[in-house]
Assembly symmetry: C2
DNA sequence: TATCTTTACGTCAAAAGTACGTAAAGAATT
DNA sequence: AATTCTTTACGTACTTTTGACGTAAAGATA
């Protein structure tokens, strides 16, 4: 444990030299699996405490690039849809003493700033393509169903809550295919929308609206192996960069 | 000039000790006057160069509090509507050498970080209530009509452009009375919306929609001294915290 | 007094949203 | 093999919202 603390201390010393102080990035990586929104979480080494993937911005690094780097490392994806959604800049965001204790960190060893301003990013990724990878300070990385997420370190539960709010808001503004595979069925897309919005939608109206949006392109194949009538596969029309109609009104 | 540079250097040294490095706040303070959007700008001492009000975050200060402090100092207002709208975090945001030169700053004297991440806030204020006040490093502070804003220092023209985009987006989500006096007429509110949106609206439909929103309360008085039929005065119903209908569809 | 502009409403048709109907496809059951 | 069940894919009809435009009253000006 002393050895580990030493490693942590050295790591933070390195970060302290190469990265910007007082500022961090926290990433809410959303996946969609079995009709549930999932978030990728990490377990802090030697503890049962979970937290969001995050990291620091190198002194000469673009903030967006840093966010992408951090998210890429945890997911193994080279392409991901990223959205900056909030700056968490309160002077006191969480109980530090309590947090260091939960993390098994001796307070005096943490050579880092007293408070941190966090830039909140969320990523929308294809669940099945992610290869969760813990980082230097964590020993487990896995998906958590949104509704089963435990009490997290720092203010990360709050950050997730704000991320979801932002995601809901953006559902109306942008095509939201990033959480699904390249090709998908309309009912699958409907489940995704329902899950994000938190209430059921009428299948007939959803279908109509998606068709009317002009954003979807029907593929010749149908989804095989379904228990009932095989649904057609669709994909977002790459040529379509406009907006998908607001699904909150479906 | 040497004395002035010395003062600047000392100021930056002080900031460097008390504030967070690499991070700044830039404020786009919007006012509405004579049917034009205005932005409050500062002129850098000893130059003809203009820039946005801005500042740094104290080490133990909430980011929102810092933004409010900075905006309050320039406007003399104790209450202002603030909205964080974007983080400008590119590694290279502007030509530094060129900028220092424009600002008459000897490069070697500027004891500050190599790059700055800027948190963009905009404020919506009542134009007539603002008492523009330059800060320590500037010698003039005044409103500029949006369309007449000159080339600014740093990437501040870009920041203003992004602020307006955000303002337009938010026009649909929130009652936007903050730029008008407490009481105003419907046509005055329409001019404001038209100015922000950049296109004319139909007065009949605008009236209908504003009434339908339920956000406005008609006062018993009418605006006196108008050249034609005296319009009623309204104010935003304080009890109404909901949304004003999307004026982009008017 | 007539005219002109502006306000404060109103009307109506088109578009969008919403509730619900139903035939065809495909599997499971009788 | 026929029936039943669920799901998809598309349709119909009603309601609400939007958007184009009409107009009388108020108040200044000609």
């Amino acid at each position: 444990m002393i050895d580990y603390n030493d490693k942590v201390t050295r790591h933070y010393q390195n970060v302290s030299e190469t990265c910007i102080h007082y500022l961090s990035i926290d990433g809410v990586i959303f996946g969609f699996h079995q009709n549930q929104l999932n978030v990728l979480l990490l377990r802090w080494k030697g503890t049962k405490e979970w937290l969001l993937p995050g990291g620091f911005i190198k002194k000469a690094e673009s903030v967006d690039v840093a966010a992408r780097r951090i998210m890429q490392e945890r997911t193994g994806l080279d392409q991901l849809y990223l959205q900056q959604f909030h700056v968490f800049g309160e002077a006191v965001r969480y109980n530090q003493a309590e947090t260091w204790q939960k993390m098994n960190l001796p307070t005096q060893n943490v050579n880092w700033s007293e408070r941190t301003i966090s830039l909140g990013y969320y990523a929308l990724v294809e669940h099945s393509k992610v290869i969760p990878a813990p980082d230097f300070l964590t020993e487990e990385c896995r998906w958590w169903q949104l509704k089963q997420i435990p009490g997290l370190l720092f203010d990360h539960n709050h950050i997730i809550a704000v991320a979801i709010e932002s995601l809901r808001k953006q559902l109306g503004d942008q095509p939201i295919g990033h959480l699904l595979p390249e090709s998908f069925t309309i009912p699958e897309l409907q489940r995704l929308h329902e899950t994000i919005l938190g209430y059921p939608l009428d299948a007939r109206n959803f279908y109509k609206k998606m068709m009317a949006s002009g954003a979807l392109e029907r593929l010749p194949e149908r989804r095989a192996g379904t228990p009932h009538k095989a649904p057609y596969l669709y994909r977002f029309d790459p040529a379509f960069s406009g907006r998908v109609a607001d699904p909150a009104t479906l």
